[in-house]
Amino acid sequence: MKIGYFPGCSLDFSAKEFDTSLQAVATSAGMELEEIKDWACCGATSGHATNHLLSIALPARTLALAEEQELERVVAPCAACYSRLATARHEMAEDKKLFSKVTGILKRDFTNSVQVMNIAELLRDNLPAIKEKVTHPLKDLKVACYYGCLLVRPPKVTGFDDTEDPSSMEEVCRAAGATPVKWNKRLDCCGGGFSLSRTGSVIRLGKEILEDAQAAGAQAVVVACPMCHSNLDLRQKAIAEQTAKPLEMPILFITQLVGLAMGISEQILGLNRHFVSAQPIIAKATVKALPAAREEA
Amino acid sequence: MQALQELARKLLTDKTANVVIGWGQGPRGPRPIFVTQPEHADRLIFDTRCVHNLATYLNPRRAHLVPFVKKAVVVKPCDARAVAGLIRETQVKREDVVLIGMRCGGVVRDSDMDGKLTEATVSPRCMDCPDREPKLADHLMGEEASAPPKGKGPDMIAKLDAMSPAERWEFWQKELERCVRCHACREVCPMCFCDRCIADKSMPQWIESSPHPRGNLSWQMTRVMHMAGRCVGCGECTRACPVDIPLGLILRKMTQTVEERFGYRVSDDPTVPAPMGAYRLDDKQEFIL
């Protein structure tokens, strides 16, 4: 079945590797993604931190477009976009007044019938197909699965996994052959939207998270959100300034990890685009030169 | 037909039954007959004109049949549902009746018609009937039957549902003003077995007894409420009505409600509990504030 695809602004560019790795993994595992035509930004934190109605109306437009494309489900790989889309859907379903206000603003036929999924949910629901395509299991690779905030919170909006004890990312990593470690900060916030505006906070939070992952023996942190990625990857140099020794913790998108296990080339997966090199992982994962056929993926 | 007659003869001879209630030829088509002598068993017939619901004769109100105790009855599927209802409500003991089940592909509207089943002649009662043979039967006879022809005409329930309450009121007032309160609908009904009907109760008199629209309406509403989850859909009340009030319509509406809300379809299995007098904690209550 076709799944609607809402890349969101980050995947459009700064986290292009999330997009390419997802597309490659999806193709390989037989998931048919169809991008929502002419989608607009979800409004992100700035939207709901300043104008509630806007924070519902912007995602609602996207959901309406998805309905027009006759899509029943939409995947939003960015956890923030996912949260905005899912929240909008939830609030409009709960509050009929809000729903009619929004439809009035949208001026579109809209029934609020589209299901919203995040990337961990999508991959978990397609585990059998993914397992089938794993050719280079990432044996001995210890990873810390990092959920952050919006994938699992608040429970009444997300609900695909246990809010305080989720397991879907670990399941996906295990399917890729990696070994998820048990650690404590996997649900803590990385600082999210304060990346530019309050860098100090982001560094403090990032440090706590990365140190805990390292203490748990992780060789890489696996994320499902471009903001988490940039806060942990881009800011790692600044974080390292406050630690005894450099952390050198590679941060991978979950799709990149799965892609590696499927033997998809690191160029397509965009592993070269990270600030902290993922080379040690790639080497450890014993992913060798890849057949050309994969390149087309 | 031969098989039916032979069975009846046997039942009467070996005293398995003291009377066989079935149909025989009358001056205007088949009519109910009570065979008590083995030699009269050949009077029994069965065809598409055998419209009457003979379960009504098991009803203890038929005092003249009570002394026979062991009774054999010829039943169509709708009749069998009524027998099941009477057993369920302790009016009849299963061991006191021998049920001769007839396979049935529908009957005509009335017994004085010729027996050809067509879209025009089929009885409305047969349109929704899913049963081709009674499951509650000691003997089963007749040929495998196919589904009755679908009747013609508009779906009156849908038509009425589409009306405004005032229009529905008008509709029923026009129908009910003809009612002469002969109570044939009650007398013919196999499920009406009270010794003293509420319509005849005077202290207090809930339902006015004279043929007046007010009492007529109360009577029909009350009757339908009493039939809730009990009506077997045999359509005898409609057939018996001398002024042709479409009584079956209200009953069908009620039956739909019961099925939709409580998931209950009237059954010829007496062990299936009736929906009224039972409840589920999660019964729908959208109409209650």
Binding site: A40, C41, H52 | -
Partner: protein
């Protein structure tokens, strides 16, 4: 001690004057605007215990809700803490009494903006405005433009300069914006939402 704070703050007199007039109080205004009953918070502090930004806030999440309960509008609206919320939803997920502190803070920020409050830290407000401007003009966020606009507004001109070349090298910054076809649609939504919220 209690007495000291009470006499020390000028708004207290006006605030306490509101008590007893539930219809026009700050807490009822908040309830009206946000659709959450502030009285639902029983001040257990679980939100503050789990808040990743608590160590940087001058008012903790439960204290902000408490100030709403006490109708201390000025005290609350003068403080920047509400702008430090990361909207990570930890508080809401763990609230034992089914309250939604994250949504409440969203709403309070919105109220503060509408009242042209000055409590938002310049950088954070600059970021939000730049971000929304991006959506308004292109339908999507054009990151280079966002960073540029943000720096102009916030005055944080030289932060992060070191990372820009790195980002560009790794293909993480695009220099030209893409504007969606339905940008007029988006602008209309913006205008309608702004107008609606003003009402």
């Amino acid at each position: 001690m209690e007495k000291e704070t009470a006499s020390g703050e000028s708004e207290n007199t006006s605030a306490s004057a509101h008590h007893g007039h539930a219809e026009e109080s700050f807490r009822s205004e908040v309830r009206q605007a946000i659709g959450l009953n502030p009285a639902k918070c029983y001040q257990c502090g679980k939100c503050s215990a789990g808040c990743p930004m608590a160590s940087e806030m001058t008012l903790m999440p439960h204290e902000m809700i408490r100030l709403v309960q006490l109708d201390r509008r000025d005290r609350l609206m003068q403080d920047e803490s509400m702008w430090l919320c990361l909207t990570c939803e930890t508080c809401t997920a763990r609230c034992p009494n089914g309250f939604d502190p994250a949504r409440m803070l969203d709403g309070l920020r919105e109220m503060s903006l509408r009242a042209h409050g000055e409590n938002a830290p310049r950088r954070i407000q600059a970021f939000h405005s730049s971000f929304l401007d991006q959506i308004r003009s292109h339908g999507r966020v054009f990151e280079f433009g966002l960073v540029f606009a943000y720096k102009m507004r916030s005055g944080a001109l030289f932060d992060d300069v070191l990372n820009a070349p790195g980002m560009y090298f790794r293909g993480k910054l695009k220099l030209t914006p893409h504007t969606i076809d339905g940008v007029d649609d988006v602008r209309r939504i913006f205008d309608a939402c702004m107008a609606e919220e003003e009402r």
